[in-house]
């Protein structure tokens, strides 16, 4: 692989010109990628809110939002601004502290999990050695917040919604973790960057989704479990509006409701990014960048080409994540909601055995054909 662009080092070199030592430059640099990621995640949330409303409108032969901005582009901002200035109502019979901490506990791990998401080559806040394991661990915190919110509201719908959220969270975490595990096995690493690097050697052919058998089974398991973990239709039981009104956030209003809303879509975007990293090769283009350079007759180490390939990486990441966001929206507006016992049956009696089988199949294939499955 060619030398990736290291923005951190470039920053240190640039500020060294002002006489700032390298250690201080490193500390100064730290918050910059974090803030950029938080901001881009928030913008992605606004965009996916708009996309959801617009796409669902087109599926239903409506126009969707048209007033705020061009084609309702700023609808998410308008919603956020409205919720910002809305009164915050805490039910008198509820528990005010837990009521406040519920949405906070939901939103923190979801943003926190963006830590290990690479948006392009070298564009990751921190390439932790346990990367994807960190994602699995952190994503299981959110149901606690839902349960907390549901309990603290002292509302029957909210309690039922919170309990459902917890049941759903624990049931789908196992298939999710096990389907990730087979990818980890093929990549020989837990690091998200290594997982993508493993898939960028032969372009589209080395993407995990095209690994014979295990790739497709794992993809389906991951897709269903991730959809269930993000609590979106057809698995939106915790907030099934035909039974539970709004589920665990029935009593919420104003900014606290906005946090739930933000968390839902940030989780959707996060899940889409993880899916694209695990199965569609993250930032890698459909042909390896070295081959592109050779075809164009450019030196792969040419700085201009480096910048181009970095930008292309970001575009690929966003495009792949958008594909998954679209799939999730399509599923939400096409499928009816499953029932709680059907949901648990699907998780425990179908996906869990299938995921275990998939894991063993991966191991067996890896023993038999080491060359095709990551050595």
């Amino acid at each position: 692989m060619n030398e990736p662009i290291d923005l951190g080092n470039s920053f240190a070199e640039a500020v060294a010109g002002f006489g700032i030592p390298a250690d201080l430059a490193r500390v100064l640099w730290m918050p910059i990628p974090m803030l950029v990621v938080i901001l881009s995640a928030s913008v992605a949330v606004l965009l996916s809110v708009w996309a959801e409303r617009k796409w669902s409108a087109y599926m239903q032969q409506r126009l969707g939002p048209t007033v705020a901005g061009l084609n309702g582009f700023m609808q998410g901002v308008a919603d956020g601004a409205k919720l910002l200035v809305k009164e915050d109502v805490i039910p008198r019979k509820g528990d005010p502290w837990l009521f406040t901490f519920g949405p906070v506990i939901i939103i923190i791990p979801i943003f926190f999990a963006y830590l290990v998401i690479p948006f392009g080559q070298g564009l990751v806040i921190s390439d932790l050695a346990i990367g994807i394991f960190f994602f699995v661990a952190i994503s299981s915190v959110a149901p606690i917040g839902a349960l907390m919110a549901g309990y603290a509201s002292n509302n029957k719908y909210a309690l039922l919604g919170g309990l459902r959220a917890a049941a759903q969270g624990i049931s789908y975490e196992l298939p999710l973790a096990l389907s990730i595990l087979s990818i980890v096995m093929m990549s020989n690493s837990l690091s998200t960057v290594d997982i993508v690097n493993m898939q960028s050697t032969h372009g589209i052919l080395s993407w995990n989704i095209l690994k014979p058998g295990v790739g497709q089974i794992g993809f389906v398991i991951f897709l269903i479990s991730a959809l269930a973990e993000t609590e979106r239709a057809p698995f939106d039981l915790p907030e099934a509006e035909s039974e539970l009104v709004q589920g665990h956030h029935t009593e919420y209003s104003g900014m606290k409701f906005a946090l739930f809303y933000l968390a839902e879509y940030a989780n959707l975007v996060l899940g889409s990014l993880v899916a694209s990293i695990l199965f569609l090769g993250g930032w890698s283009f459909i042909v390896p960048m070295g081959t592109v350079a050779n075809l164009l007759g450019i030196d792969p180490l040419d700085p201009a080409f480096q910048v181009f390939s970095a930008l292309l990486g970001i575009v690929m990441t966003i495009a792949k994540a958008t594909l998954f966001v679209f799939l999730a929206i399509l599923a939400r507006w096409t499928l009816p909601r499953v029932r709680i016992d059907q949901l648990l049956d699907l998780g425990w009696k179908f996906l869990l055995p299938l995921a275990l089988f998939n894991l063993l199949l991966t191991a067996a294939l890896k023993l038999a054909f080491p060359a095709f499955f990551g050595g």
Partner: protein
């Protein structure tokens, strides 16, 4: 196996009157054990407007604007039953053309009602998109109503002795267009809904009503026919010109939510068949200006005959209903809509008892939701097809 039993309180949950899936202002007091429904008690009356009492001090013509507020989604049937009761009491013959127009309007109304059953039913199950598709088709039915009656929902179109106005020019062709349009859309619903495995899992075997229970509870309409009783008033006791039409009674034997869905979908198709036959057989045809024909033909003209008018003889505003009592029923989309009318010979009925199908059908709900999941309760309630306007009256 014996699960570990711990003491658990029952949750008494009130669903409604202000609840997203209560089809208006129904209130269900549900006792939950976990997610299981142990008991369910419907509470009615939030939309009571004393419709029966209002009838007692109004003439039929004065009362007609009110009746569309019983079942505001199947409006033509309420009007039909309201005018048919005094017509049969006073033995008023209505022209054949008017009778055809009435049947066309009723069947269109049935289509509108079933479409607006399907949409909310799917929302109860959690699929939002079919609702908009149903509204798209229903809008066309309402366009037809608007063209013929001037109103989209509250038509006030039926009169003692016929209908208020003849069909306008071009209406018949417009209606034919609709009849060719809708079957394709129903195919679309089949692709979107019927073949969806999640939908099948949610409704198959849920809310089963046995044939005997269905009869004993006095159910009618699709609720009864889905339980294996092919009883349809249009065939069993034909009124208007239904005896001349060729149609099949939609019925199945399973008695679950899916069966009720299939029955209603079949009825949509049968209604289109009936409308098309009526349009073909309509006396006077689609010709728009029968009045001019009549004047041009003079008093001996065949257009002056009893077949070709839209109203036989305009009933006087103070039409006196002959003394006596009478029960009249029509096959509304939700079931048997009946009127028991007692008259003392004055202008307004002495007693006006409405038998709304939704009210009778709703009574079976607590029986069939026992030991079902909370989510099933919504599916079953959706499949019963109630309109609180007629349940509470």
């Amino acid at each position: 196996m014996s699960m570990i039993e711990t003491r658990a309180d029952r949750m008494v949950l009130s669903l409604g009157p202000h609840h997203p899936s209560m089809h208006g202002v129904l209130r269900l007091i549900v006792t939950l054990n976990g997610e299981n429904v142990e008991d369910c008690e419907p509470v009615l009356g939030y939309l009571h407007r004393s419709m029966e009492k209002i009838a007692e001090n109004r003439t039929i013509v004065q009362y007609l604007p009110y009746v569309t507020r019983w079942d505001y989604l199947a409006t033509m049937f309420t009007e039909a039953v309201t005018v048919m009761a005094p017509e049969q009491m006073a033995d008023v013959k209505i022209p054949r053309r008017a009778s055809f127009i009435r049947v066309i309007m009723m069947e269109l109304s049935r289509i509108a009602s079933h479409l607006l059953w399907l949409g909310p039913f799917m929302i109860d199950i959690g699929a939002n998109t079919p609702f908009f598709y149903c509204f798209r088709e229903r809008e066309l039915v309402y366009d037809l109503f608007e063209a013929a009656t001037g109103m989209r929902m509250m038509h006030n179109y039926f009169r003692i002795g016929g209908v208020a106005a003849d069909l306008p020019y071009g209406w018949v062709n417009k209606c034919r267009d609709f009849c060719t349009y809708l079957p394709d859309r129903l195919e679309e619903y089949d692709r979107l809904i019927t073949k969806n495995p999640i939908f099948r899992n949610r409704v198959e075997g849920v809310g089963v009503i046995e044939q005997e229970d269905a009869i004993n509870w006095g159910l009618s309409g699709p609720m009864l026919r889905a339980s294996g009783v092919p009883y349809d008033l249009r065939r069993a006791e034909p009124y208007e010109i239904y005896s001349e039409l060729d149609f099949e009674i939609a019925w199945t034997t399973e008695g679950d939510c899916l069966a009720r869905y299939f029955v209603r979908m079949k009825e949509l198709r049968e209604s289109i068949k009936m409308i098309e036959q009526c349009l073909d057989m309509l006396p006077g045809g689609p010709y728009e200006n029968l009045e001019a024909q009549r004047i041009a033909g003079g008093p001996k003209s065949e257009w002056n005959g009893p077949d070709y008018q839209f109203i036989g003889k305009k009933s006087s505003p103070n039409f006196k209903i002959p003394a006596g009592e009478h029960y009249i029923k029509v096959e509304a989309p939700k079931g048997e809509l009946g009127i028991y009318m007692v008259s003392d010979g004055s202008m307004s009925p002495w007693r006006w008892k409405i038998r709304p199908p939704g009210f009778i059908n709703l009574q079976v709900l607590p029986e069939i939701v026992k030991d079902m999941k909370l989510a099933d309760l919504m599916a079953i309630l959706g499949s019963v097809d109630i309109i609180m306007g007629e349940v509470d009256r």
